[in-house]
């Protein structure tokens, strides 16, 4: 036994199955006709079609960003299917009982029961399969408190004025290449509205499932928290194993008004490709929260374990005085995965505060980059930021990079940045082994310890899941 930490080998991806279901799929390719078709299928109001077309025309003028520390062959946007939905017997479902049992089974298999009786009593779920939302649980119960939780398609039909007011207000259509594409073709996503003074009585969550092999998934999530309200929202994602890559370009917009708080958590486990980097999801996502009101707070927590490529920077724009932005992230890459992820904290209001805790774990031959911007505007008197970016390397062939950008435009701001790099290598494992602890347990203890500050931020049930997920991803990885 000589060379020590061997190439990491993934446990088989257990969500890699494909559901055989009849779908309503439009031809490949993208043009104005396709956009009109999508809008028509979703029976959207006229303003939405205009929004899409404006975005599309903007997108045509833009070029794909190349600054991220990732490599992939050019994407042929004309080779993607922009809408694919499982065929439902009825256009509008009145209850969960009317959902195709194959779909219910699929989510059941993923550990997401859509039967309200079986669900954790305090979590409501919106389940999205390829381009459409197939079911949303606990809608009526939430409605008693005035909380709206439904698919964005439904929101466009039932609450067009709310959607119109906020959609694109945080991430404008021309914000970036992928956001523009999403604005043009997004097919579904979740909509959450918490009325003034309401503390949402349960956790809300959306589960995204990509099923089809050549369909892009473009969801749009919009969460609005009115004055003095609170909501905790969680999203989870999985996809089948295909040799080809699927594009996932989502946009998430959060709006927090005076004294409101939004807690947004993600456990991302898209298919990551095989050990040679074949297949996997391209996860190009724009997430941004607007702390519009005074004393408002937006907190992003993400556990990123999947995707062949992750390009994602959940951000906070702190407009309201005393508002707070937080970003807690664990990004794990293994094999040939590439991640370029981080956050932007834009301080505009007085005494705004932000915290960034980023933990990157790189194993195998993967590349993991933290990229973050902290910007203190001239108006942000007394603003403060604390950033901590830690990297952990497992083995000798993985890469970790940190690209922190700091722009301070007034002299009352205070910005702190700490960074560290640690390693799980032969000597660390030998220390544990010499005390009788197996390599698997050693890695799991070191990883849990490394990620503790982030996992503590997740809702409890999901913190346990996240911990297990990371161990699973690294199981059999060291020897």
């Amino acid at each position: 036994m000589s060379a020590s930490v061997k190439t990491l080998v993934n446990q088989p991806y257990k969500y890699g199955f494909v559901t055989d279901i009849e779908t309503d799929t439009i031809p490949r390719g993208l043009n104005e006709e396709v956009i009109r078709l999508i809008s028509d299928k979703k029976q959207e109001p006229e303003f939405m079609l205009e929004f899409r077309l404006r975005a599309y025309r903007q997108w045509l003028k833009m070029t794909e960003p190349i600054w991220a520390h990732v490599n992939y062959p050019p994407i042929n946007y004309q080779d993607i299917v922009y809408y694919s939905a499982p065929k439902q017997k009825k256009a509008k479902l009145n209850s969960l009982e009317e959902v195709d049992p194959t779909l219910l089974e699929t989510f059941e298999k993923l550990g997401i029961s859509l039967s309200e009786q079986k669900r954790l009593a305090n979590v409501a779920v919106d389940a999205i399969f390829d381009s459409v939302s197939v079911a949303t649980t606990f809608k009526e119960k939430l409605a008693e408190d005035g909380v709206i939780f439904c698919s964005i398609s439904e929101a466009l039909r039932e609450h067009p004025e709310l959607v119109k007011k906020y959609l694109g207000s945080v991430v404008p259509i021309g914000d970036n290449y992928f956001a523009a594409l999403n604005s043009a073709v997004f097919s579904d996503g979740s909509f959450v509205y918490i009325p003034k003074g309401v503390k949402c009585p349960m956790e809300l969550s959306t589960y995204f499932r990509i099923n089809s092999g050549d369909t892009g998934q473009f969801e749009r999530t919009l969460i609005v928290a009115e004055e003095s309200s609170y909501v905790s929202y969680l999203e989870g994602c999985t996809a089948p194993m295909y040799d080809s890559n699927q594009l996932h370009a989502a946009v998430v917009e959060l709006v927090a008004l005076d004294n409101a708080e939004i807690k947004y958590s993600t456990v991302q486990n898209w298919y990551a490709g095989d050990e040679n980097g074949k297949g996997g999801i391209y996860n190009f996502v724009t997430k941004r929260g607007l702390c519009q009101g005074v004393n408002s707070k937006i907190s992003w927590t993400q556990v990123e374990t999947g995707s062949a490529i992750t390009w994602k920077y959940p951000s906070c724009v702190l407009i309201g005085d005393n508002s707070i932005g937080e970003f807690y992230s664990v990004a794990l890459t293994n094999n040939r995965q590439q991640a370029d992820t981080g956050t932007k904290m834009i301080h505009v209001g007085k005494n705004t505060r932000s915290t960034i805790i980023s933990k990157g774990i790189s194993a195998g031959k993967s590349s993991n980059s933290y990229r973050g911007l902290v910007k203190i505007n001239p108006s942000a008197k007394g603003a403060r930021n604390y950033s901590q970016c830690d990297s952990m390397l497992i083995g000798d062939n993985a890469q970790a990079n940190t690209f922190p950008y700091i722009q301070v435009q007034n002299n009352t701001g205070k910005v702190e940045h700490e960074a560290s790099t640690s390693k799980i290598g032969e000597d660390q494992l030998f220390l544990f082994a010499q005390r009788g602890i197996s390599a698997e347990d050693a890695v799991s203890m070191m990883i849990s310890g490394f990620c503790k500050d982030v996992f503590n931020q997740l809702p409890m049930e999901f913190a346990v899941e996240a911990d297990k997920l990371l161990s699973l991803k690294l199981e059999g990885s060291v020897g």
Partner: protein, 261 residues
């Protein structure tokens, strides 16, 4: 202590090892019986630390010849963790820091891995806390060390005391102390030595690797061996250490290998 006809704990015969193709150990022979304390001394680069790591099963060293029999079993085929669970303990010369893993958790998981290997039920956190509190006394450590990450931010002396705490909890059959005295001030040296002395008994054995006679004033060896150029070239009683202290190694090398330095 030397006990007539006590059990043979460790028998090393003609042990040879390489690192990256370079021979380091070139035929080491050593026998250690229950109750005994052995000191291995020798110039820098003689193979002392390599010997301790090879006994513990560090994967970077490949064994090219010889055998290591521990309590009747050839352990060269065993993984490091199996050797540890069967009773081989190595106190590290440079204990690594493990950020994020609390000392208490580390100790408990290690202890339970040994219990499991013996077919004993694992102990829960409450029982383990009681056990640790008692063992902290051995090295005069404060319980605040338990909440901190393993060795993180510990001083040199605290790290070495933490090694002895682990030894106290795991109760090994064979303890190998790799330059446990290096980096210790005189007070810490007394605490560490005192801890080791409390843990040695007629059932177990200790191998100390050291450069200095100083340690041997506190932990008195039954045997002293001189290692040079990958072999044990001279063995004797505790008086050999005193002689080495006053005369250096040259005369031993000359005597054994016929070379002048």
């Amino acid at each position: 202590m030397i006990i007539e006809n006590s059990d043979l704990i460790l028998s090393v015969k003609d042990l040879q090892t390489q690192v990256d193709g370079t021979p380091i150990l070139k035929g080491v022979n050593l026998e250690v019986r229950a109750g005994e304390i052995h000191a291995i001394m020798g110039p820098n680069g003689s193979g002392k630390s390599t010997f301790s790591k090879v006994l513990a099963g560090h994967p970077a060293y490949s064994v090219t010849g010889g055998e290591v029999v521990f309590q009747g079993t050839n352990i060269l085929e065993m993984e490091a963790e199996e050797r540890a669970r069967s009773g081989v303990f190595l106190a590290f010369q440079y204990p690594l820091e493990v950020p994020g893993v609390s000392n208490l958790d580390f100790l408990r998981v290690a202890y339970n891995s040994h219990r499991k290997a013996k077919g004993l039920p694992e102990v829960d956190t409450f029982d383990f806390d009681d056990l640790v509190m008692e063992k902290l006394e051995v090295v005069k450590m404060n319980s605040s060390f338990l909440e901190r990450s393993v060795n993180e931010g510990f001083s040199g002396g605290e790290k070495k005391r933490n090694e002895i705490l682990q030894m106290a909890i795991l109760e090994p059959k064979l303890a190998i102390l790799d330059e446990t005295d290096s980096g210790l001030d005189i007070d810490a040296l007394k605490i560490v030595s005192n801890g080791v002395n409390q843990l040695t008994n007629a059932e177990n054995a200790t191998i100390m690797i050291t450069h200095y006679q100083r340690l041997l004033d506190y932990i008195v060896p039954d045997f002293v061996h001189v290692m040079a150029q990958g072999r044990i070239i001279k063995s004797g009683g505790k008086e050999l250490a005193l002689e080495l202290e006053s005369r250096g190694y040259d005369w031993v090398l000359e005597e054994a290998l016929g070379v002048g330095v």
